[in-house]
């Protein structure tokens, strides 16, 4: 494989990512499923890098899950997004930082629609004004938060306490990187590195000392696919896609899966549990499952954060095998304790423990 070929593609898909003063929009589900991720991002940006990241309490869902589930019309979601832009304008910000890949895809689709069909932009301005009396500007810069961590990946590396090196073998960790389909597959120019050989996550892995695994089903959907899962009768299709993906990566013996999409992380994590329960199949070495981390969680581990502060215990596939490889010390007694020391319920049937 020729790395220069990838570098040539990456050079053609470099996007401008703002340096400071971000209007931050959260994901609907990330705070529940990976509660340390957004917290790490805000802490890293504000307290480590000293950047200005603003959150507006009036920000709502983008309704993307409803849109992709065919229950929210396009004109409605355009107006909801326009309201977010209005909040940004009212707050005095021009750079939007989006935590969710579904939302990021929604925003890119809407901006492209407005570019090619200006009448839709005018209609949306009218709808929003009639409904709320608000007016909005189109962001000067739009980035997914994985773009921003990519931009500052060397700042993470400079503060690294645990590089992506297997301390038991001194070999780089083998990392499967999986971008959400809606990050760049619809509009490759909005993603760092494009759609076929995206660089947003692989760039982080490289900067933090790991090796990226290129396996045949690298581009395949995680299995979520919205209607594949949201319609209950389709869930067999959802899990069969995940099975295909993990079967393809298994021979490469990856140490972890890195994602930038909440849906992908959730499904690649939880379907591993389900497949194991259904048929006893696991995809890691020695009967283990493969930990699936967000880029914020991985950045936090690299920088030496406590894994339980990063919320790794809230994944279905537990990260202990990875922590041991990275040489990270952890205390299992603290795993399910609140910050003030109260014991939380301990889940049953944890994987990889």
């Amino acid at each position: 494989m020729e790395i220069n070929g990838k570098k040539r593609i990456w050079s053609e898909y470099q996007k401008e990512i703002a340096d400071d003063h971000f209007f931050y929009v959260r994901s609907c589900i990330r705070q529940s499923f990976f509660p340390g991720s957004e917290q790490f991002f805000l802490n890293f940006m504000r307290n480590v890098l000293g950047k200005d990241v603003y959150e507006n309490p009036s920000h709502t869902t983008c309704t993307g899950i409803g849109y992709h589930g065919d229950i929210v019309p396009f004109s409605t979601i355009m107006t909801v997004v326009a309201r977010h832009f209005a909040l940004m304008k009212e707050s005095g910000y021009k750079n939007i930082a989006i935590s969710c890949v579904t939302s990021f895809g929604i925003y890119t689709e809407i901006l492209e629609t407005w570019k090619h069909f200006p009448e839709e932009l005018e209609k949306t301005r009218e709808y929003l004004y009639k409904a709320t009396g608000r007016e909005f500007d189109i962001p000067e810069n739009m980035a997914h938060t994985s773009d921003i961590i990519y931009k500052f990946r060397n700042d993470v590396a400079a503060r690294a306490k645990n590089l992506l090196i297997n301390k038991l073998t001194d070999e780089p960790l083998k990392v499967v990187e999986h971008i959400g389909c809606h990050y760049s597959k619809m509009f490759p120019r909005y993603g760092v590195g494009g759609a076929e050989f995206p660089n947003v996550l692989s760039g982080m892995v490289e900067a933090w000392g790991g090796d990226v695994v290129d396996y045949p089903e690298r581009r395949h959907c995680c299995g979520f696919g919205f209607r594949q899962y949201l319609v209950q009768a389709n869930r067999g299709y959802s899990i069969s896609n995940t099975t295909k993906k993990f079967s393809s990566m298994k021979p490469f013996k990856p140490d972890l899966v890195l994602t930038n999409c909440p849906g992908c992380n959730m499904f690649m994590d939880k379907w591993q549990y389900t497949i194991r329960e259904m048929e006893g199949t696991t995809y890691g070495v020695d009967g283990e499952s493969i930990p699936v981390l967000t880029y914020e969680e991985l950045a936090g581990l690299v920088m030496g954060y406590n894994p339980w502060d990063l919320g790794l215990q809230f994944h279905m596939v537990q990260s202990e095998p990875l922590l041991r490889k990275m040489g990270i010390e952890f205390n299992n007694e603290d795993k399910y304790k609140t910050k003030d020391g109260r014991q939380m319920p301990i889940p049953e049937n944890l994987i990889n423990v």
Binding site: M1, I9, E196, Y215, P216, R218, R219, P251
Partner: protein
Amino acid sequence: MSDMGVNVVVVGGGVAGMEAAGQLARAGINVTLVEKEKETGGHVKQWHHLFPDRRNSMEVLTYLKHQIDHENITLLSGNTIIGFQRKGSGILIITNDGKELKADALLLATGFDLFKSERKEEYGYGIYDNVITSADLEAMFRKGELKLKDGGEPSKIGVVHCVGSRDEKAGNVYCSKLCCVTAVKQAMEIREHLSNSKVFCFYMDMRMGGALYEEMYRDAQEKYNINFIRGKVSEVGVGFNNKLVVKVEDTLAGRPLKMELDMLVLMAGMEMSEDGLKLAKAGKLNIGENRFFAPADHHFGSNKGNVKGIFYAGACTAPMNITETISHARAAVADIVDYLKTTSK
């Protein structure tokens, strides 16, 4: 010696330019043949065997070199034309090194560029070791060895038609016309080199609209056992055993296919050359939707440009094979001779 006392500059020393230069010289016209490379011959000199009769391309090259071996022809190799303008009844042409050439007519035979296959990112050309182009395969044939990057012998080989042709995403909606027959020729040659190999051609439509093409296609199936699968390759990856994993839809069987191959050959299409595009911009020459030079009339003036005294020959106007290119070049010469007679009156 020049009989007519007129000068024509021919730009491009490929098949069209060489044939036209030779024919003009024999008509008693002074010709300056400008070729950007050190050697004339264009794409043909990279090719091994030609369809439909599998003639060695060197024979065509020898013929063309003989054509330009004439006292009326001055060859400026290693030169390009950066601009031109009408001056009086003639044309003033500027070369890249600042030389001024005065001509009574200018014949553009700037040919085509092969589609840069790396633009079809999903096929991984330039990334995966054993994804090659039709041009790369010809180079292997010329060396007489068909090998994988690691020196091994491929046993399962795929051939992808329409790479950069009939492809809106690539910006080329037109058919490059020669890729299907090239694929058939190369598939047969692969089987001749490696008799135990299996060859799969992935096509959208088989466009075999030339003399003896259909017969080749029939032979490829009946005598060479080449598998033709109607469907477009969607993506290429590499498996743990370092074999290529190719996804394609078999549209006749109505099902997706995923297969492991040792090698994948991309049939790169033809695009207007970058040099031709620069000249079109510099000289305000019309180009078509396909970005090739747009002739003054598709039926009666396929060699004439929209600017007086400018003529075209060969694949700078549309994809065409060598036979058509030579005919087109000769037709350009007839138009130029007629034009020079008219303007000299």
